[in-house]
Amino acid sequence: MEIDIKLAISAFVLGLGMSGVYFLLTVGLSLCYGLMRVISLDQFFYYALGAHITYTLINITGNFWLGLLTGVIAVLFIAYSIEKLIYRQIYKKPIMFSMILSFGVNLAGVGIIKYIWGLAPKPVKAPIGGTIPILGTDVPGYRVFVILLAILIYLGVWYFLNKTIVGTAVRAGIDDAEKVEALGINVYKLFTLTFILAASLSALAGGLHAPMIMVVPDMGLSITSFAFMVVIIGGLGSIKGTLISSFIVGQIVSFGSLIWAPLANIAPFILMLIVLLIKPTGLYGSKYLRR
């Protein structure tokens, strides 16, 4: 099938929308890995929880934004307690502990969601309807909003990491947390902060994604492998890498499905394998991050 220029433009914009959601979901994953050297599979639980709380709040108040905010705040508190109760105990253990532990948290969390909300898919209406013409193509307005918001969040995270002293400490910790501690900084506070930041961004991703897809307890599962690909292609621990790779993966998925839809599912995996074989630390992963 010949690719029309109009189709290509819309594929590009829609790909950006996907990139936005991927970015929000993976930036936390990447930060957690970088700083604490944990792989936090429970981010997908926060993602699903954010979406479900958004759904419920819309039903009660009719306001999407309030739902989104409540979801993020609720997850913030849950993540805080999970970090204190569970993660604290495994920071010094090998990384696979965090994988299995967070896999358990995810399993239990999704179980709770199923218990509370049931299994049936739930509708969430997009708060911004209509389409916006971009270069002669109509693009759903809500997607454009998601793209803009993702850019805003990236700028915010960038500012936090580069212009604030706490963010500088986080960046230093990504390099070597022990050395940060040796300077006299309480790294555990940094860990808690990073974890709840990651979880709230995941919840935000879930809430934002809800109007585009269906809300089901297992919704995190279908996005897990994509999220991991984004993090790995970009390089674990690198925010810039995460941004660039979520852009790339979004575009590959988008253009892949334009050519032959099944490509969308496999092309990112192939890209990831190629990237790793050429540069074993991902595009922007620091080679000093050894673990």
Binding site: M1, D4, K6, L7, S10, A11, L14, G15, G17, M18, K114, L119, A120, P121, K122, P123, V124, K125, A126, G129, T131, D138, P140, Y142, R143, H209, P211, M212, I213, M214, V216, D218, M219, S222, I223, V253, S254, F255, S257, L258, W260, A261, P262, A264, N265
Partner: protein
Amino acid sequence: MRSGKRVLVFLLAIVLVAMLLPAIGMSADEPETFNLGVLLPLTGTFAAVAETQEEAILLAVDEVNEKGGLNMPWGKVKVEATVMDDEVDINVGVRRFRYLKEQGAHAVVGQVWAPLAMAINELCKKDPFPYFPVNVAPLESFKKGSLADCTFAAGYTPWTVGYMAGYAAINILGKKNIFFLSRSDAWGWDIGSGLEAACEKYGGTIVGSDEVAVGTSDFTTVLEKVKFVSPEVFISAQFGGDAIALIKQSYDMGLHNEMVIFNSFVTNVVAEGLPPEAREGLYGMHFFYHDLSGFEDQEVVKMAESYVEGYTEKYGGPPDAYATIAYIATTQLFEAVERAGSFEPEDIQKAIMDNPDFVCVKGPAKWRIDHQPIYDYAAFLVRGKGLDEQTSKWDFFEVIDALGGEEMYPSLESLGY
């Protein structure tokens, strides 16, 4: 190493003792209960569907027991159901299937997921056992020699779904230019070949097609393609959660203004998961829609009504399409057992094949030689209602027409008979 040898002797002794205690066969000829094994994917992708199927099966069991039980030559026999979860995993499913058998199940109903149904069918081929899968099974499994003698599938194949969708789009809605979005697995391909057969027969054209994987949540790029091709009708093979995402995104992108959106096999779960405005004007084939008011065959309307009433009373909501497949499978199993007067698979098979006509909650039907039921009303063509047309929580669709009969099924020759 002396201690080691002593251990070996000890072990040998244990083995000997254990062999002297073989499990004594306890199979009585005239059991007092009929043990029904129910194996459904209660967790995993199909959990929402499986939940409704479990309800329907248990309803059928309750109804039989209220009548006193199954009418067997040696008296009334109560039915006892054991429910297990197959987790959409072949190993788990087969293991639990064998548990059910070891626990003395006389028959098993279940499976939404086709590969597991086929794996269990394979076991039943070697070791005959009454097995009634409740899914829409792939075309390949009905090829001659594939199904075990006592495996009866209450659903039909996706081929029929695709054929009916094509028939309805072309002959009833009068839309001849079709874009078909398949699912890249046996389900999608079978629907596709059914659709193609219908197009060939009734003069439709597939002007564009694509396929996406199960579990795809973002369809926007594909939908752009659909928009670009601008067909008269957009038929999709998506099911469950995928269908919700697809239809919602189609609505968001304004596809409903330019073409008819047709989800080939629609269910209430999908309707429930859609915002009302996206549901409005959506067409689809529904295996069984609970509100048949206005349908001409009054016989069917009455029968369906009493089933829906019983179901709603017990579970607080009407039965869905897949629940009804499960209900029909269970009731047909019971009928066959009663007619056979025996729990033996050979007798049950004979009872069904000797007397293949039956009447179920959605009208008359007939078991074909390939173990598919040919329904007079295989599916109902429905149109989604918007918010202002909706009168109650469960009022999702309006029934427009019904399709069925041998015409809608793949020919026996094509299946190797």
